[in-house]
Symmetry: C2
């Protein structure tokens, strides 16, 4: 796994995004230097190597996926008014909103530039699928913002939102590797479906970690979603299953303006525990991961070649941050 991540890091830092004016290109280099798991481009390379050995051919489009992902983070952080990202100032905080809008726009253009490194005969397919994915990710972000001001959100609506906001990009990252590696249409679709499932599982794991992570390992504040009234799978499920009395308690904390953060987190977690929310969410999460692993198992590729993708999936299930 390390060789793939190193390859991504090397190429991300050596790629010439541009230099002038500095207000556009410094923020691009800045956000890309903040690190992260590089999960999406690694998925592209791991998918590619199922079908072809020369995975260097997939590196630039894979980086395009990471650039696109960071473009969405950059613009989302403006919209969410987020001061920090990966423990550092966000771009709109370090510079300003205008710089963040415009350097983000250029990042999106650069993602398309990187997609053009695909073999010429594959470019129509690659860009066409990338377009669909990119529009869907934006749709997901809009639904996520809409949910903030809504009184209630159903489980189905929530799952559709995270499918758009998170899962389709993992799906496309895997499909892209398959397309570039020369897989047939049906196999490409299966890798997309594998990605959708692990993407949904991945987001539910995120929701779980925010509440139940070991704070020494998590790297962020545990309970952040609860403090911010974020409509996660856990909260939606809790509101669905709560008795009248429990609903009253939940709403008390959701509506309370002045509160001690620790008290609120403790009270809401106690309600989650009464309602068995942790295990219900794990159950749903495992369902998605199991679906994904079943699709991977059925792929007409040797077990040996699929081992890295299987191993990465298991790591996603067990991750502690």
């Amino acid at each position: 796994m390390k060789k793939y991540i190193d390859l991504i890091e090397e190429n991300l830092s050596s790629f010439d995004f541009g230099s002038k004016p500095k207000e556009i290109y410094e923020p691009i280099r800045y956000i890309l230097s903040l690190g992260g798991k590089r999960l999406r481009p690694v998925l592209t390379l791991l998918s590619y190597q199922l079908f072809d050995k020369d995975f260097h051919k997939a590196v630039f489009p894979a980086i395009g996926i990471e650039v696109f992902h960071n473009f969405t983070l950059l613009h989302d952080d403006i919209m969410d008014n987020a001061p920090m990202r990966r423990g550092k100032q966000t771009v709109h905080e370090k510079w300003n909103d205008n710089v963040a809008i415009l350097s983000g726009d250029v990042m999106l253009v650069k993602a398309y530039d990187l997609m053009l490194y695909a073999d010429k005969e594959k470019i129509h397919k690659v860009i066409s699928k990338f377009n669909r994915c990119a529009a869907e990710v934006c749709q997901g972000q809009q639904y996520d913002m809409n949910f903030e001001s809504r009184h209630s959100v159903s489980e189905t609506e929530y799952l559709e939102m995270i499918r758009l906001k998170t899962a389709v990009l993992l799906g496309f990252a895997l499909e892209l590797g398959a397309i570039l590696g020369g897989a047939d249409e049906n196999t490409c679709s299966k890798l997309y479906a594998f990605g959708i499932n692990i993407g949904l599982g991945f987001q539910l794991k995120d929701d779980l970690l925010d509440v139940y992570a070991d704070s020494a390992k998590f790297g962020k504040q545990v309970g952040g979603d609860i403090i911010a009234n974020k409509k996660t799978f856990l909260l939606i499920k809790a509101l669905e299953l709560a008795s009248e009395a429990q609903k009253e308690q939940l709403n008390f904390w959701l509506e309370k303006k002045d509160f001690d953060a620790k008290d609120k987190v403790q009270a809401v977690v106690s309600l989650y525990d009464q309602l068995n929310i942790k295990s219900l969410t794990e159950q749903k999460m495992n369902e998605f991961f199991d679906n994904g692993l079943a699709i991977l198992r059925d792929l007409p590729v040797t077990k040996e070649k699929k081992q890295p993708l299987r191993q990465l999936t298991l790591q996603l299930i067990d991750r502690e941050k």
Copy 2:
């Protein structure tokens, strides 16, 4: 000319950009419905018909150019804090900044979608040139914003800024028509150069109209750039040529916080007149348009076929709004 504009309007309003969530797709339809000259897609069609009769084949990529142009307007309006566009509320005013950022992002993606209607073997070239143009337009916008807070800007810097912000998109619109129509590399480059020149002339005409337009025909407030201290070609030239006494007067109005708009416009125009700025700007503008027309004249295409482009250029020179 009318048939081309009608074709653009029809296809712009019938194209299915998407529908859900409405916060993304309503602003896209809204800004595209505000009208405008549709200059850029018309240039693509007029360029295409130099080489091929079946100009319907160029319609979707041509619309892509208009969608891209409107994406830049949408995001620029957020950055410039502009309340109005074509006499109507801007998207960030009618909705909010977040909606404007995100629907703009999707417009950029949709512009790429429309470029994919080019013949498959031309897509790499089209998208590659579109990427370069798109990044340059963003660079131009950043320079324009940077100039606002700078004490002085040179003529060279200003011309480079408007080349990036305005001219390269007209250049690409024409080059795109040539590529789609099957013109050779050299001819495509000439149409790009034609576009750069008429684009520079077009922006200088804009600068002139803002000060010297007939207010009954202009449709906007005459003198808006003067009131806002916008560093136009006229102001830059005036600051360059002014005597110490004149520079003092200009700076007096540039620095004055409380002023009567009419007084300020009158005073600055009077200084422009003393310095012969109108005629100097017209001279520079005509230089660019003449360069453009000379490139068009030398193109190895019948005079008859070039007539619409020539006529449109003459209209741009003489336009009153």
